[in-house]
């Protein structure tokens, strides 16, 4: 009997298998085991999982990293199972893999970010050609359910956290409040309608490469300013939101994301302001005095240090400027970090593992 040629033999999937009656039975099976986010899931069949792995050219046991606190190995197969559940197609999977690999980098402090009472979610910003390939939209509802790809990719990340790292509410995830971004929090930058370089390119990824930036992030703080065309005044509104976050949530510096939709962007473009100009201005202005805490119910911790100044940024490159949002509306948003700089934003290019044998 001739043996099957090596190149035709697929590596075996190792996850435990269950035979279920149908798709509806699968819902209750997965819900009852705490494997979902409460929404219906796409049953992760072996065929669907294998299709994801083939797309990224990874064997099932490809190790993406180890979460050090729980000493938990993160494999391509397990990412794929959860991605399928979230509604990802194979073409969405490279973004999921890259985002989670970025989250496993030491600077991201994955355990702290996903266990803390602080309740952050994982913001994923997508750049490069992959956005068009996946039909991503950085336009209307940019921070909400703007399109299928960003919705399912963001959801996949949450399911992975729940199922591979036990980051479920009340389990490892001790968030007091959390926020809706914990369902899905993925935004595609609107590069085609922006005068600026994409976020990933500003953070060192070569031009025209696809990439993700992940940030342990609070909920968006949306504001409106339709009453000026001056870049400084527009940024003063962004700065006011940052200062409010420092007063009300966390005084510590970190990566703040500034989301700039077209109506506001047009003013910066007319005035010739680059993202670097925005970063410089915001980093300079976003400061508070400790004594301001007395104005919002926190007088007990002001002590003798009321005049001490705190800056939102130790480095102006920590300001993450993102061009996104629908064409009309003088709205902008500040997305604050989870509690300062304990977790740093990580940017990673998207690539397939071309060396893996499948």
């Amino acid at each position: 009997m001739a043996s099957v040629p090596q190149e035709k033999r697929k590596p075996a999937l190792r996850s435990k298998r269950y035979a279920l009656d149908d798709v509806m039975a699968a819902q209750e099976f997965f819900h009852s085991r705490g494997w979902t986010d409460g929404l219906p899931i796409v049953p992760p069949t072996p065929q669907a999982v294998e299709a994801c792995l083939e797309w990224v050219l990874m064997p099932p046991d490809q190790l993406l990293g180890i979460e050090p606190v729980r000493q938990r190995a993160i494999t391509a197969e397990k990412l794929a199972v959860n991605a399928v559940m979230a509604g990802c197609l194979p073409m969405h999977f490279p973004v999921v893999v890259t985002a989670f690999t970025a989250m496993l980098q030491e600077a991201f402090l994955l355990h702290g970010a996903t266990a803390s009472t602080g309740g952050c979610a994982i913001l994923i910003v997508v750049n490069g050609p992959v956005r068009s390939e996946l039909g991503m939209s950085g336009s209307f509802n940019a921070l909400g359910p703007s399109d299928r790809a960003t919705t399912v990719i963001g959801r996949a990340i949450r399911l992975i956290l729940c199922n591979l790292l036990d980051a479920r509410p009340g389990d490892v995830d001790r968030s007091t409040l959390g926020h809706p971004g914990k369902i899905s929090y993925c935004v595609a930058e609107d590069e085609e309608h922006s005068p600026w370089r994409p976020l990933a390119e500003e953070r060192g990824v070569p031009p025209l490469a696809s990439a993700v930036t992940v940030l342990a992030a609070g909920a968006p703080r949306q504001f409106m300013n339709e009453w000026t065309t001056q870049p400084e005044e527009i940024l003063d509104t962004y700065v006011a939101e940052i200062r409010a976050n420092m007063r009300h949530y966390s005084i510590w510096p970190g990566n703040y994301a500034l989301v700039v939709p077209p109506q506001l962007r047009a003013h910066f473009e007319r005035a010739g302001w680059s993202k670097a100009d925005i970063r410089r201005y915001v980093a300079q202005q976003a400061r508070i005095r400790r004594g301001e805490w007395a104005e919002c119910g926190k007088g007990a911790v002001v002590g003798e240090r009321g005049d001490r100044e705190y800056a939102a940024f130790t480095d102006e490159n920590d300001v993450l400027v993102i061009a996104a949002g629908g064409p009309a509306g003088g709205f902008g948003a500040v997305i604050p970090p989870w509690y300062g700089n304990k977790s740093r934003a990580v940017t990673m290019a998207i690539g397939a593992c071309v060396d893996c044998e499948v």
Binding site: S15, A26, F30, P44, G112, A113, K342
Partner: protein, 93 residues
């Protein structure tokens, strides 16, 4: 028509760790306290230290604090642990 699905969980051994063996007595022991460093832990652990020394005959209490309350304890602090008979790890807000 039945469907076959895969387990999405980590499938690790449910027993993540086994608790350390309990001491028969705290008399004469060195007990370490590793605090996560949050403000409220100081008075709490001051009280715990007093109770251990005055009420349980503990010989010595060593107090250490993590540099980052959101990250695992630094390896250098763990080196101290070998000199203790018991350890209290403080998680609080």
């Amino acid at each position: 028509m039945s469907i076959e699905v895969l387990d999405p969980s980590h499938e690790s051994d449910a027993r993540a760790f086994a608790p350390a063996k309990r001491l028969q007595t705290l008399e004469g022991a060195t007990v370490g306290i590793i605090s996560n460093g949050k403000k409220g832990t100081k008075p709490f652990f001051d009280a715990v230290e007093r109770a251990l020394l005055e009420g349980y005959g503990v010989a010595k209490v060593v107090r250490l604090t993590k540099a980052n309350y959101s990250a695992p304890v630094e390896p250098e602090l763990l080196n101290e642990v070998e000199r203790w008979q018991a350890l209290i790890a403080g998680v609080g807000d």
